[in-house]
Symmetry: C2
Subunit: 119 residues, 2 copies
């Protein structure tokens, strides 16, 4: 009986899926919409000129990477945003900027040291 998550990270890191999901404008607009309030499939689909099954696939992608959750009551399925994965992506980006800025600081230091030497 083998476990799904092996030591060597068999499953692709979730951040892949999050960025992937956000790379599509339709899906970003859905996220933006759900930021206002939860909504049903048809409410979400309404602004888009797309066959419903195609649109639903986008919802599945969003749910697949954890960006949204849904539950069905009667015949309507309601989607709501799950903010944690957004946070994850944001954190990666913030981290990169932190590193970048630290590097600029190092460069400043370097320039400063050069000036010291000049004296």
């Amino acid at each position: 009986m083998t476990v799904a998550t092996s030591l060597h990270s068999a499953s692709p890191p979730p951040i892949d899926g999050i960025f992937r999901a956000l790379s599509d404008p339709t899906r970003r607009r859905v996220v933006e919409r759900l930021n206002r309030s939860p909504a049903s499939v048809s409410e979400l689909a309404q602004p888009f000129d797309m066959a419903l099954p195609s649109f639903i696939e986008h919802l599945r992608v969003l749910e697949g990477c954890g960006l949204v959750h849904s539950e069905k009551a009667g015949r309507v399925r309601t989607y709501r945003l799950a903010p944690e994965p957004l946070k994850l992506a944001e954190n990666w980006l913030v981290e990169q900027r932190a590193l970048w800025e630290r590097r600029l600081d190092q460069f400043d230091d370097y320039v400063l040291k050069l000036k010291e030497k000049d004296k």
Copy 2:
């Protein structure tokens, strides 16, 4: 003589490409590496178990969406990070969180008003 950028944003918004580029672990690792310092193609490729042409394609994707710049001197091409597109992606995410948090505040207000009514 028609112009490339029409009024109706013919070109897909660059943010698509940025998120798309970041959805690949190889490319994210390249960004992380370039955050330390500029580097040549072979330096960048070295940690990856991938045919060079395949790897170079990743670099092209990164450059295509503006995340990195490169220039060739002699036979070596040097890549450096361009932080602005990262900022763009970060801004979108930050904006979403801001909206989300504003919504939570509204909910708090709502709860507060309910309590008021109870009295």
